[in-house]
């Protein structure tokens, strides 16, 4: 197998194809601290792309409650079990990726979930790690925890779905790095379903071929962020483009979050796919769990996030989440305002770093009435 460089694991690794990075790379940052599991993103995706026959159990976007939830059931536990628990405790990952751990005759380490595993997309919803003792609620920190993990296809730089397909029906677009599955070429072998450790390719039993998230490419081509991003109630998402690791730009909000402040982390970097969806880890969850899930540097990321008010550039980037449906290619913070620009330099949005506070008298003289705090 050829060798490619995966910056997330800090070393070269094996991959079935030569590593050619696309001209631009679709990416997303999700702030898990803000997700409320309302599933608006799931429904927005579903109604946009997968309401058809054979897509009944298919959710290109899903939101699961960690640690117990998972769609398909136990996807993370099962692949970790196969790979062995190999946490990433330093910038260079010493263990094996799923390509390097592939058994004889396989391209990647993987498995096909059972049909039942896809049948309960929100299993484990709101379940925390254990029960709370009487009164424990009133003391901090809470010993039990849970958090919401929204997931889409990671449009991986080294996509295992792509590498696993013997017909080369899956391709990565050079113009934006979106990974697409050719609906005309696929023959439904399901090698991609087996090979994707995130289980983000799905089999359509009516058309009898596989399907996957298309990164809302018609929107991206028109400078618009994905459906799951622009509908997000919690404004937890920012979608745009990530630069190549050695070409990070401080004025690209995604680069700032991922490469400069290092507050956003990849999902299971140890799998070796260099996914392009990044997560700001939930700061109330034990770092040990998060290190397994988001790799090296989680504790630093949590600390940086806690102190975000001290870094105006970081705060500015965070405030641009959910502020505009357009893709923000560049941003700056000027006079306590974060300003986002499109690729032609046109201004898209201005967000104040601190929302102005208006203090009003409790009694409204004009209407001769008492105000409540929502009037």
């Amino acid at each position: 197998m050829p060798k490619v460089y995966n910056w997330q694991i800090g070393r070269e690794m094996e991959f079935p194809y030569e590593g050619v990075r696309p001209k631009r790379q679709f990416a997303m940052v999700m702030d898990t601290n803000k997700c409320i599991a309302c599933q608006t993103c799931t429904v927005a995706c579903k109604t946009t792309w997968t309401p058809g026959r054979g897509q009944e159990y298919m959710f290109w976007n899903n939101v699961e409650t960690k640690p117990y939830g998972g769609y398909p059931l136990g996807w993370d536990v099962r692949i970790l079990e196969k790979l062995g628990v190999r946490d990433m405790t330093g910038p260079v990952y010493e263990g094996k990726t799923i390509f390097e751990a592939a058994p004889d005759g396989e391209i990647a380490l993987g498995y096909i979930p059972e049909d039942e595993d896809w049948a309960f997309p929100n299993v484990g919803e709101d379940e925390c790690t254990g029960s709370m003792e009487q009164g424990a609620l009133y003391t901090m920190p809470h010993m039990q925890w849970m958090f919401y993990l929204p997931r889409i296809c990671n449009h991986c730089t080294y996509a295992s779905c792509l590498g696993s397909c013997p017909r080369q029906s899956i391709y990565k677009r050079p113009e934006d790095g979106i990974v697409l599955l050719d609906q005309h070429r696929c023959r439904g072998y399901r090698e991609c379903v087996k090979g994707c450790p995130f289980k983000k390719t799905h089999f359509n039993p009516i058309t009898r071929v596989s399907e996957k998230c298309i990164g809302c490419y018609p929107a991206i081509e028109n400078g618009r962020q994905t459906q799951c991003t622009i509908t997000c109630i919690g404004k937890i998402r920012l979608q745009g483009f990530i630069s190549k690791p050695d070409e990070a730009r401080e004025d690209n909000p995604l680069d700032y979050l991922i490469f400069v402040s290092k507050v956003a982390k990849p999902l299971y970097p140890q799998f070796g796919l260099e996914g392009n969806v990044y997560y700001i880890p939930p700061i109330h969850v034990p770092p040990r769990y998060l290190t397994q899930m988001f790799g090296y540097g989680v504790e630093e990321a949590m600390e940086t996030y806690r102190r975000a008010t001290e870094d105006k550039k970081l705060l500015g980037a965070l405030l641009l989440f959910g502020s505009t449906p357009e893709i923000i290619e560049r941003y700056e913070v000027q006079n306590d305002t974060a300003i986002g620009y499109n690729k032609d330099g046109g201004e898209l949005v201005r967000v104040p770093i601190r929302e102005p506070i208006h203090v009003r008298a409790a009694y409204d003289e004009q209407y001769e009435t008492h105000r409540t705090n929502i009037t």
Partner: protein, 292 residues
Amino acid sequence: MNKSFHRRAWAGFAVLLVLMPGCPSERPDPAVEREREGIEAVRIEGTGAILDPGAGFWNEAPAFSVQLQPQVVVDPRLPEAAVGELEARAVHNGEWIGMRLRWADETRDDVLRTADFGDQVAVQFPIDPHGPLPSAMMGHEGAPVNVVQWRAPFQRDLDEGAPDIFDLYPYALVDIYPDEVLGVIDARAYTGALGVDNPISRPYESPVLDQIAEGWGSLTVKPIQLADGRGVWNDGEWTVVITRPLFPITPNDPDLRPGTATNAAFAVWEGGSGETGARKSWALWVPLRVAE
């Protein structure tokens, strides 16, 4: 990227050629001799496609035992193939050739769900019986092969109707489908592979796909489908007939006219064991004589 892929494939091909049954050996072995003789397609009465797996005329054709090996040349592969042997008989009526293939399979796998694969069998012919023999592994560049593949799920579609979601998942919940509220043109965007006329998705009148290949990963369904067939599963055994015209009609049809000495190769997939695509058992070229 293609290059390294093909290099891998060819390296394996060279190894297999050495191991291939039928290669000259020092002492004549009766089994090898039988293999050399190959399959004879005997002449029968009749016209048109040969479709009946239970017809009496199959007894006129000698049974040939095809020994199958697991595909181990390219990844992905299975260490052990579920089906090791296939009985092949061939007949022709001057217009069509029919091959009847019979193999033991405890499970009838003809429903496709995420983790359920279908049983399949395929016969492969060189397009040009007089040219250099194409690679038995789906041909090679410049030496195409015709792959006629019978699929159990297609057979079930024809026998019992194509399934809807409630046949596959009885407890599925559905509000409304786009095609119930939108016109055909607008609803097409929601039909996935069907909407782009993927040959695997669209309905056929035949359970057999008529295809061409010129090497690994190049299998393509032909624009005009001439092959036909019929399969029945009974008591742990599939009996499948695959039939096609003897004379080339459309570009890249194999030439199998009476009197031709050519070859046939075979592949079987046992869906219940997760066999699909490259995960299959196969037999390399077996001589095939089409009687005058």
